[in-house]
Subunit: 309 residues, 3 copies
């Protein structure tokens, strides 16, 4: 077994990782659980720059909390309104500026390819915190961590992704990640929101994939149901949005035919695709995912900054 | 005397505190004065999440400074524009997310009841940093601390609240707090901005309360004059605002009939309800209040997070 | 030689410094280079308040990074939208509030004179982080530091400032700073953007100054070329902006006649006044300036807060 190398590495796509590497990240994430509770000085003196060119509460605060819990500190911005970008600066220049301030950059950007471009120009490692409709690798890793933590395995599971599989970046990254494991994947969406063809083509070479519009029929066989919000802000045409909005809504009735040990995940925020009545069922795991996001991001920060070898 | 219990407690309303508890908070606040000057590691590793759904400089920075001076750190947001709320997330979900990132939450929200709702859903303690026109308990505590620090007592004082007693949340919380002491309260406001009936009814059972529109006549008897801004942004009808704007303005002439040891407080920001010429009088105490806000919030954070028993 | 005194001092204008003082700041900045790389606890427990009433990525993050690298922490705001200023608060009151939260204030403000006004009211030191079109002293200091670091001297150099010399605050501060040294200064700008008369008058009493519109002709003699963005947002008349936009653009052809050891500086952000092809030439030093900004600001913070005597 060769040594895994994370120090100084960019994390722009889940596709960059082998199964062995993903497993290693999940293993290190687990060791972060107690550290997340009591804090640490592992990254004392290190600075994370959060460059969020798109609105986010969850991911930005998660990265910040992860860095703080490791003893580091954070700088950055949460919207583009009050930045040099408004003065006409391009992303490459922003990155070549911020690399002087920080030891690592987390970047969220509305354009696909933004994280890769930033990584190309940056001397410090860049973590993709969401790029357009394309990728959200740290979300995929926390999803995988949640599945393994809750089901004690990933191999052998029947996993369904439901909702917006076209514009939702989390499902693209997750599908790539899952395709490293021996799972059966079901993709449930309205026709206009089917999984992007280029993602589908790649994952189909590795795992069995079924596409359907019928959630009800498929749910009795599923072990992990991954629900996504249909994101109004990503639709070029709002009439299209109106048509598919609310087409899948998980409530107690939906769950009546589900396995007892089904787990329901959601990258959050949710609007109404999961009814509030589901929150208190044993199947609901979407708020636990939030905690898992901290430990996974702690692992990534510690690995990339070289404090874990 | 039973033991006072603060660890893990939500602070959503000043009404939740007994007089004994308020006195204890003021006592701990006093012990924070030297710590506020030289810093401390009392809350090292702890994270405060500031969730400010409404504009604020003062309160947000005050909570941040308080946390930093205790060695902790802070995350959060200062406006709602760049948050998941824009994507349609409800407050309960925001709280169940953020409780994973932080050890304690300070919440400012435009809706009454928001802090109580958040506290209900949150596993970590919630401090109300201002909810609608309803309550602002940490401001009331720092007001009480200022009065006791400056006058060496609260009991026996003649205290007047002047300005907007209807929409101003600070005066509601302060009135509740003052009603725990043996004071005489005068409420001075235009008719349209009289103290809310439900507050008045409660405090009248405990202390003598006089309502008047005449500041001039009452001022010679007053020990503590608490001035508030008439808040344009809280008026449903701007014509109403125009009518009462500037009706009470404290200047040197106003003070010519006041007691020599009168103290003037104001929750700030002020616009023109206190003339700049008053700033250099010995009566002015409103900038000292800002400092007192730090030590009181330090006390609350340390108490609720259990580092002071 | 008398002792230089920085502790507790406001830094509102580069004009406040003697040549001896500037040299001392540059010397201390140099000692900050290793500390900027590995971090320090020099300012542990100290708080910097960044009050940015105007958009900025670079300067705000630079101050934050500088403070964090010295072990201190930061609070503040990056735009005026979500502050008490929106409620009508004046700058003096904001400062008299924030001085209670922080040990030092960095202020950016759209109005000239804002930093001086703030310093007058503040009990804690105020650093001008850019005031209107007037001054940007910390930028001038980092420019001087960059020149000395790259050329091993400042005296004897031929230095040209090109672009917007009227609205650009950085060139005003830099011109004052350079006038303390024995240099020859060339000012290159369109007629409508010539250096402000009051600046010109002052520096002409100290150093030889030439004004020209012809960059091409002058470039072979120049040692340091300081390029500035023509700032759309500062033009009262956008038709004026359209006329001068892009009039000076540095590309490989411009450089073909330049000295081999010319260095090109730019306060950033740039738009298109320096072509991307220049970035990889040995002359380009504008991204190194960003790093230098950190060490210079670390020096200033440490000096003003008295941790270096």
């Amino acid at each position: 077994m060769h040594t895994l190398q994370f120090q100084g590495r960019d994390i722009t796509s889940i596709e960059d990782f082998t199964r062995e590497e993903i497993n290693y990240i999940l293993k290190i994430s687990k060791t972060m659980e107690p550290i997340a509770k009591k804090g640490s000085d592992m990254l004392k003196g290190k600075i994370l720059a959060n460059l969020f060119f798109e609105p986010s509460t969850r991911t930005r605060l998660s990265f910040e909390a992860a860095m703080l819990k490791l003893g580091g500190s954070t700088i950055g911005f949460g919207d583009v309104e009050n930045t040099s970008v408004k003065k006409g600066e391009n992303l490459a220049d922003t990155v070549r500026t911020v690399e002087n301030y920080a030891d690592i950059i987390a970047l969220r950007h509305p354009l696909e390819g933004a994280a890769k471009l930033a990584a190309e120009f940056s001397k410090v490692p860049v973590i993709n915190a969401g790029s357009g409709s394309e990728e959200h690798p740290t979300q995929a890793l926390l999803d995988l961590y949640t599945i393994e933590k809750e089901k004690k395995k990933i191999d052998g599971l029947k996993i369904a992704l439901v909702g917006d599989l076209r514009y939702g970046r989390t499902v693209h990254s997750l599908a790539y990640g899952l395709s490293q494991y021996n799972i059966e994947l079901t993709l449930i969406s309205p026709d206009s929101l089917r999984m992007r063809r280029e993602v589908l083509r790649k994952i189909q070479t590795k795992i069995p994939v079924t596409e359907t519009q019928n959630l009800e029929k498929i749910i009795p066989q599923i072990d992990v149901l991954y629900v996504t919000r249909i994101q109004k802000e990503r639709f070029p045409d709002q009439a299209e949005y109106a048509k598919v909005k609310g087409v899948y809504r998980i409530d107690l009735e939906t769950l009546s035919n589900a396995k007892k040990d089904l787990i329901i995940l959601h990258p959050l925020p949710r609007v109404d695709e999961i009814a509030a009545e589901v929150d208190s069922t044993p199947q609901a795991r979407y708020f636990q995912q939030v905690w898992n996001g901290i430990v996974v991001r702690m692992a990534l920060l510690a690995l990339v900054l070289g404090s874990i070898k």
